[in-house]
Amino acid sequence: MGIFENVLLAVAGIKANRMRSLLTMLGIIIGISSVITINTLSNILTAKIEGIYDSFGGISLVGFRLTRKDDAVRERVSDEDRFSAVIRDDIAERFSDKVDYISFSSGYIDCTTTSHHNMYDVTLYGVNKHYIKEYMFDIGAGRFITDSDCEKGASVCVISDRQAKKLFGSVHGALGKTLSVTQKGDGRFAMILDFTVVGVYEYKVDAVTSMMLNAVGNDIESWNTDVYIPYTKMNRLLDKEDFSNYINVHIIPGLDIDGVATEIKDYLNNTYYRKNDSYNIRYWTQEQEMSMFDEILGTISGVIAVVAGISLLVGGIGVMNIMLVSVTERTREIGVRKALGAPNSAIRIQFIVESIIICTIGGAIGILLGIGVGNIAGIIVGRTASPDLSIIILSFGFSMAIGMFFGYYPANKAAKLDPIESLRYE
């Protein structure tokens, strides 16, 4: 008797007991679908996170930060410790074959502005022309801060589209207008500053991305209050030399990011910070930050895997139980088959095949359900993905293996039934 006939027989049996078969499969369905769901979700989130980091200048962006040494003697950071224009130019020149651009912010001032008797918070940031590439902003109208703005220390600014609409009615209507801001403070030293709006940037962060960024400490909502001005202007307003606490270096794509970053860090520490008693330089890559998401995903995956494992075990025991019931119910049929000449092996195979079919159907339903649930969640996040083919094949194979493992005992019991006793069974 061929496997094909056994499969047909098993399918007929499952059809005859639809509800029972479905309930039997439930454990397998839940187990497999959770594996597939988490795999789909993790692929979606990974793609999403990569997308976010890409819009942050991509994985080639390396942040160099001033870091206090373990044996630091000072708490306060002095100007000598900070990144100077000399350092920036030195990096740009020395590593010109490896560095694409350097962006930085030289400081900020919290201000307010008034329009139609409403007061709005704004934060002025002194930036260079590359700053825009680092964040997920597009220019909606006009232009961003340029080198020439910075050289002149011009009183120009780039505002967000939200601000443009609130303060000037429309994005294009804001261009050329004057933004008047008042520095926050105790009032005695309050400055009133006027800037000409030369550009409007589009705030293009979706809710889920914003949520995910908030989770790792980036308050996206506060960004729409950001107003960008030339860093030279900012230095003048803050009455300080050209220093910054950090620089972001964008390494030419395709190069070994960690290698170049280490090279730059070592160069800076050896050249500029050797004699510094308290501070030196460290760097952070996007990859390091992404690994945090991977860790979170890994933890969730681990928990789900345990749940799936337990579910599959319970499901397998359920299958074994129902197969034992099935063997008892069909004792007489087994007796007849034996009387007609079925060897024990044929009976054993018949029941193992039935068990495998139940589990395989359960596995297939679980895979489809998992892809469905994963992608429904994906629609909310705004990105869909399929699970890994290897995971699908593995799940399918694992379902079959469960069927074989938990079907063997009942099938063997059926095979060993005494034909005379079985024929007499009522």
């Binding site: 007796g335 007609l340 000449g341 079925a342 034909p419």
Partner: protein, 277 residues
Amino acid sequence: MKKSAPERIDNGFVISARDIVKKFYIGEPNELEILHGMSFNVPKGQFVSIVGQSGSGKSTLMNIIGALDRPTSGIYYLDGLDVSQSNDKELSAIRNKQIGFVFQTFNLISRTSALKNVELPMMYAGLSAKERRDRAKELLEIVEMSDRSAHMPNELSGGQKQRIAIARAMANDPSIILADEPTGALDSKTGRLVMDLFHKLHREQGKTIVLITHNNELAAETDRIITIADGNIISDSDETVTQLPPIMQRHAQKKQSEQAPAQGEFVPETIAAADGA
């Protein structure tokens, strides 16, 4: 120890049973002897009925004839082959190819069409799908059930089910058709039809049929009646065939002496008893 291929002895008897004893063990010291040493032969093409009341050992004898069970001692030749020492796997093959069972309660496999039921023994015999289908259709033609081939058992009447079961019994062209109270669950009219079918198969196809029944009227229709009571044959309407042919006697004697040397003298005694009766 490896089992040698069974020796086949052709003698014209489909069934040769010699001193069949069946004991059941109910706990160590208690043994219950159901069959006390039955000997009989059935020649090819005979329609024989085995009659006995319930508890006579009828069912136990049927199980042994049908290769569902092995005798505790004694020798059983089926179509010239000694099957009394066969293992489970060999018994399966014997049941599959040599014996066609017809049961009182039909025992068709549920949720399986009439055609597929008839195909079942051929499936276990390893015939191809086409061979099975052709043969099954042919058999349904013989039992006049061609128009019901796609029906499920629960869509058939008792008489129809039994005819399907008879077609199934003949699937692998077995040496004997073993019918256990085949009309027991049928009304007298359909029972008559089923009996007529057996007569037709016997007459037209030359089938050897063993009918087990407690109905003396049905038994009277057959070529020969073997009556059993309390585990013994108490009468046989055709005692001429009870004796083993000489070639088989020698084989049986040799085998018996190998098995139990102390009983080596049983053959002459049995022959003497048969001669004297």
